[in-house]
Structures are given as structure tokens and as C-alpha cells.
Amino acid sequence: MELAYTAEEQAFREEVRSFIRDNLPADIQDKMLNGKKMGREDFLRWHRTLHKQGWVAPNWPEEHGGTGWTPVQRHIFEDESAEAGAPPVIPFGVTMCGPVIIRFGNDWQKQFFLPKILSAEHVWCQGFSEPGSGSDLASLRTKAVRDGDHYIVNGQKTWTTSAQFADWIFNLVRTDPGAKKQEGISFLLIDMKTPGITVRPIVTMDGGAEINEVFFDNVKVPAKNLVGEENKGWTYAKFLLGNERTGIARVGASKRELKQLKQIASSERDGGRPLIENPRFRDKVAALEVELMALEITNLRMIAAMRGGKGPGPESSILKIKGSDIQQRLTELAMEALGPYAMPFQREALEAGWNEEPIGPDYAAVAAPHYFNYRKVSIYGGSNEIQRNVISKMMLGL
């Protein structure tokens, strides 16, 4: 048993660190570190920089443009990126759809889509959830009917992140209404510019505009956009959801947030002293840091187990539950640290280029909205209740 990174791994960490230092634009870093609004272009500028470096798709096989990194190297990369405030790559193309195309797509799809995912010419979104189908995804009802060389798609997706600026959507659609629910589903790639698609924004409770409803009204999709076989889409979806698990613990991002929380608690005053010296607050921060330390090692243990080529198993549910819990509590403590100054609602202050005097300290505007918004992390990506079901069924046989 040995915790230290090897000399090569340490050298790799240095390489990543200096690459980010030399290339991450200051304005993007400022937005990330201070919780300001990130637009499509902000994500894509960094995406393109990583692409030029050959680092945009560490999870892909090398022959398709992957990096050939070990799981430990990937972890180091994610860790360094998160701590430095480098934006994550928008996951829908690189992390979700790309691997499905690589594994199950045909040659045309590989040649047409993969380079454009890497170069960010195509930005993707994920059309899985529907109003009636969330945790019970397999009950989805958006249907696709074969008509010659095309499918005609009708129905509705919802909660679709980034649909407001995505070029393509990968959809789960029902192609065989008569079959058992998991067996009548197909995986279809749809150009968002196709006539009949309407995107309606959903405002979240923090005032944000990151999710949407997507309506399909007789949308004509070329049959060549079907991934793999008709009615086998559920298998591909399960493969996709399994891939989503790496990085799910979000340890790097939480370490960064913890550092910021400590800075806030050092600046805020309580009875003339820094808040961080208030024993109650101090205890809560310390206890959370202990949890984060444990999660970091749990994450590393699971990554080390993957080194032997094993894919992530149901154990990754542990990472999702703890990782989301820690992220939520970090935002909660940052909000608490501000006391009454968590109250002013200054949404404009989160826009780039806003230069009025903030109400309260400049880190105040983001705190409560961030806390409200982060209630989502225990809901999406398989809710924490569903993750507990996975642990009890798949790991424990209950």
C-alpha cells in the first residue's frame, strides 16, 4: 500500500499545472472562481485550447483522439483543472455521446460526428428525461416512427441542459410501443436546427436559465442518425450512464470551493473577530473538510481499482451520494457565512462586465443563488434516492 504518486505522475501533474497557468484566459478563470455566468463561448474557448493540446477527450480511445492517460492521470488532470478554475468540458458531447458513437456507431457517424465533438463545432445536449419519465427513464414516450429513409419524431423532452445553445441532441425515443418498456427504445441523433423542434427555457429558482423543454413536432430525422440497432437504445443509454460516473465525486471542484469558503469565513466578521474563529462555524467547516478528505481517498481507491481495466461499478453511487452532499454543504456554509448579506438579490452582478458597486462584499451575490441552484446535484444524474437503491440492490443484494 502506497499513497504517494509515482515520479511520472508527479511530473504529469506539473505539466498540467503549467499548461493551465500558461493558457487559461484570466477572464474565464475569474468567472469560474467567482461564480459568474459562463456563456457558451466561455466554455468553448477553453474547449478549443484543450483540443489543440490534444487533451479534450481523455476518456476516448487514442485512435479516436483520446489521450491514452491512465485513470490516475485523468484524475490528476480533473483535479488540477478544477482547482485552477478551468471550466469543465461540456459533458454531453465528449463524455456522453462520443463514447456511445465510438462503441456502437457506424463508420459514417464516427467520421462525421467525432471530429466535430472534439473541435466543438458541434455542441450537444442530452434528450433523455421527459415530464413523465425521470427516475423511471425507461417509461419514456417520445416516439419515432420509421418512414422510408427517415424517422418522424413526436414528443417532449424536459430539463434539457444547454438545449438553448446546443447544435445537436441525442435522444432516447420509443420505436416499438408494443415491446417491454426497455426493449422498444432507440438512440437517435438529431440536428437541433431541424424544423419542428421548439426549445422553451425553464427558469430555475435561483433565476438561472440553464435548462429547457424541447418539443418535437413531426421532426424528420434521417435514418442514418440511428445509433446501433433499432430498439437497442436502452443498452446504449446504460453504457452512457455508466461512463458518466468518472469525475462524479467532483473532489477537485469541492477542494476549490472549500478554499474559497475559508477565505470568506476569514473576511467575514463576527463580534469583531473573523467568523472562522467562531467555534460553531469553525467546527462545521472542519467536519466538512474531514468528509472531503475521506471522499478523496475513496475516489482514489476506486480509480486505482479501475487501473486493472475494470469499469466503474455500482460503487460509483457512493461517490455520487457523498460528492453531491459535500458540494451542497459547501454552498450552504458559504451562504451562512454571509449572514444578512446573503439576502440581496443581485443577479446582474453575476454577468460579465458588470461594474457597479456590489451590495456587501463582492463574493456575496453568488452565495444564496449557488446554494439554491445546487439542490439540483442530488436530483440529476440519478437522484440520491436512486443511488441508494443501486447500492442496496446491486452491491448488497437487498
Binding site: 427516475s135 430555475t204 429558482m205 448579506y341 439554491f372 439542490r375 440529476y380 434516492e385
Partner: protein, 381 residues
């Protein structure tokens, strides 16, 4: 022992419940929030007509001589409907300070107007550095002939942007954070040297940053004693805390009802999600938290005006701890159990959740009040 309402209280409860039910839902609330003052002047007039605005003031002051129990009844319903009118700022705090500390002349000049809905008050007390410490006042009051000159900055003043008169706390003596030396001053919001920067709050209310730049007021602007207002401030804030406890209980009631309804109607895997035992237990815990909070809100209302100030402090802080912690649990779980729909601005849960969250950070959060509670209860000897 008797936890029942009197006949008058029952009528009051019925009236306010009905009013809130008729006049409030999320869409209506948004339309009230969009008005220049961030609330409905029309409803404010209705409250005046119904006698709600004079409820806590003595009959000789144009009021109805109601106690903290009547305020609890009103605030619980206001919580149920997530009312945005400045009842806490203007009636409970503003009016409360005047009726606790004002001279007969001041009360006569102000309270009947407040009760009639013609005059709005706000309590300009907190400061950037003060967090929840009521004695942490750096705004200064210096003698100026027979009057006073006020200078300083007041932060997150609830409904400070619509108030006609501000009740400003300022230090006329003593060092920062000392309890002695604080005074309360009536300041016309339009007076020279008063700067008001209003803004919405994350929970749908309004607040303001108030700057006082050499503001001159007469000797008759002092409420009570110019260097001895701390006990009054503490008492008025304790009443506000009891009112907030009731509001929080009303909010939890609505959140629990909405969540229970959702558990019964939302289907996944072919069954109502309320059939999953994990969610049944969660919902049961939410109900337990609501009941515990309700008990403490009742206790707080019955103790808000106790002659024994130490006992009052102890009970009020205990109630604030309870609603802070229960509110956190009920709020978070109500969103969680709704899934995606709970995250939206369109659905009601998020709005209740946000207000409940900010109630914890009003006049001391659960940690702050756990300290204050422990100070009274646990000091040795």
C-alpha cells in the same frame, strides 16, 4: 393548560386564512413583487381595514391591544401564502419599537397613522460588520444643539426603500459592540443626508442599504433614552423572531402539504412515488419537524413579552434554533422529493424554500441562537 384560541382569535385566524387564500398564489405574488415598492398597496389598505395593521398597538394608540399570539396567527397565515407586504418591518419591528420606547406624543403622532396604513416604518439597525450582534453599532449620533447628527451605514434594512420613516439605531456613547450607549432615532426617509439604495432580496422581499451622512434630527426624534435603547431593541427583535417563527411554521405547512400531494400523484415505475418507503419515512420526518416547530412558535408567542427578560431570551432563541434546523430539513427535502419540478421558478416549492432559508438568516441563525440560548441556560452558578 389550554392551547385553544379564544373566539376572537379564531375569527382572526379564519379572516386572515381566507384573505391569504383569496389574494395569494405564486403568480399573484409575482405581480405584487413587480410593483414599485415590491408589494401590493391595495392589500396593505385591506389589512388596515381589517385591523391587522393596528393589531399589536394599545387601544389608546389607535390599535386593538393584541398580543404576540395574535401576531402569530397573522404571520402563520402570511407564511402559508408567502405574503410580501411589510408587516414584519413596519408593524412588528417599526411599530413595535415605537410602542415599546416612544413617548405618549410620539405614539400619538405615529401609531394611528401606521395602523391606518398611511405611514410605513423600517428598522435601520444592522451594519456591514454587525452580522447578528444587536449591540454591534458603529453608526454615530453626536449632539447637535438640542438635536442630534447621525452618520453611518445601515445594511439590509428590510423594506427600507418604501419606508416613510426609518428608525435608526446609532451610538451616542460607548465603544463598538457595547450594549450601553445606543439610541434609536426617528428619521424621515427624505431627510437631507439620507441615502437609500433599494433592492430585491433572494426570497422575494425588498431591502435597502441606507447611508446617513450627517443627518440632522431634533431632540424629539429620540425614541426613549439616547444611550439606553439596547433592551428595547432586544425586546422588539425578540418579538420579530416570534413572528418569524410563526411565518416559518406556515411555510413548512404549505411545503409539506404540496410535497405530500406530489407523493400521492406523481407516478414513476407505475406507482405513486409515495409508495416508496424511503420517501414515506422522509415525509414522516418532515411532518415531525413541522410539529416541533409549531410547538416552539406557540411557546415563543406566549413568551415574547415576558417580564423576565432572561427567560424571554431563552425561549425565543430556542424557538429560532428549532425553526432554523427544521426549516432547513423541510425546505431541502421538499425540493428533493419533487425532483426536477422542485427546481423551477414556476412551481411554488422553490419560493417557499428560499423564504424559509432566509428566515434562518434573519436576526440570528440557528448557531447564533444556540449560543444565546446556552448563555442563559448553561452558565455556571
Amino acid at each position: 393548560m389550554d392551547f385553544d384560541f379564544t373566539e376572537e382569535q379564531r375569527l382572526l385566524d379564519e379572516t386572515v386564512r381566507r384573505l391569504v387564500k383569496d389574494e395569494y398564489d405564486i403568480a399573484k405574488r409575482k405581480s405584487y413583487m413587480a410593483a414599485p415598492d415590491g408589494f401590493s398597496r391595495k392589500l396593505w389598505d385591506r389589512y388596515a381595514e381589517l385591523g391587522l395593521l393596528g393589531l399589536p398597538f394599545a387601544e389608546s394608540e389607535g390599535g386593538f391591544g393584541g398580543s404576540a399570539v395574535e401576531i402569530m396567527i397573522v404571520m402563520e397565515s402570511f407564511g402559508r401564502g408567502l405574503v410580501v407586504e411589510p408587516y414584519l418591518a413596519s408593524i412588528v419591528l417599526g411599530g413595535g419599537l415605537v410602542s415599546l420606547a416612544g413617548s405618549a406624543a410620539q405614539k400619538q403622532a405615529i401609531l394611528p397613522q401606521v395602523a391606518a396604513g398611511k405611514l410605513l416604518l423600517a428598522f435601520a439597525h444592522g451594519e456591514r460588520q454587525s452580522r447578528y450582534a444587536l449591540a454591534d453599532v458603529e453608526t454615530t449620533a453626536t449632539k447637535d444643539g438640542s438635536g442630534w447628527m447621525l452618520s453611518g451605514h445601515k445594511g439590509v434594512v428590510l423594506n427600507g426603500d418604501s419606508a416613510d420613516q426609518l428608525i435608526v439605531s446609532a451610538r451616542s456613547a460607548g465603544g463598538s459592540r457595547e450594549r450601553n450607549g445606543i439610541g434609536l432615532f426617528l428619521v424621515d426617509a427624505k431627510a437631507k443626508g439620507v441615502g437609500v439604495r433599494g433592492y430585491p432580496t433572494v426570497d422575494g422581499l425588498r431591502a435597502a442599504e441606507v447611508t446617513l451622512d450627517g443627518v440632522r434630527v431634533g431632540g424629539d426624534a429620540v425614541l426613549g433614552v439616547a444611550d439606553g435603547a439596547y433592551p428595547v431593541i432586544e425586546h422588539a427583535v425578540d418579538r420579530a423572531l416570534a413572528a418569524l417563527a410563526a411565518e416559518a411554521v406556515g411555510i413548512m405547512e404549505t411545503l409539506n402539504a404540496a410535497t405530500l400531494d406530489y407523493l400521492k400523484t406523481r407516478k414513476q415505475f407505475g406507482v405513486p412515488i409515495g409508495s416508496f418507503q424511503a420517501l414515506q419515512h422522509r415525509m414522516a420526518d418532515m411532518v415531525v419537524e413541522h410539529e416541533q416547530s409549531k410547538s416552539m412558535a406557540v411557546l415563543a408567542a406566549l413568551s415574547a413579552d415576558l417580564a423576565d427578560a432572561a427567560e424571554r431570551r431563552r425561549v425565543i432563541s430556542a424557538a429560532k434554533v428549532q425553526i432554523g434546523r427544521s426549516g432547513r430539513f423541510v425546505g431541502q427535502q421538499s425540493i428533493q422529493l419533487h425532483g426536477g419540478i422542485g427546481m423551477t421558478d414556476e412551481y411554488l416549492a422553490g419560493h417557499y424554500f428560499k423564504r424559509l432559508t432566509m428566515i434562518d438568516q434573519s436576526f440570528g441563525d440557528a448557531d447564533h441562537h444556540l449560543d444565546r440560548f446556552a448563555e442563559v441556560t448553561l452558565s455556571a452558578g
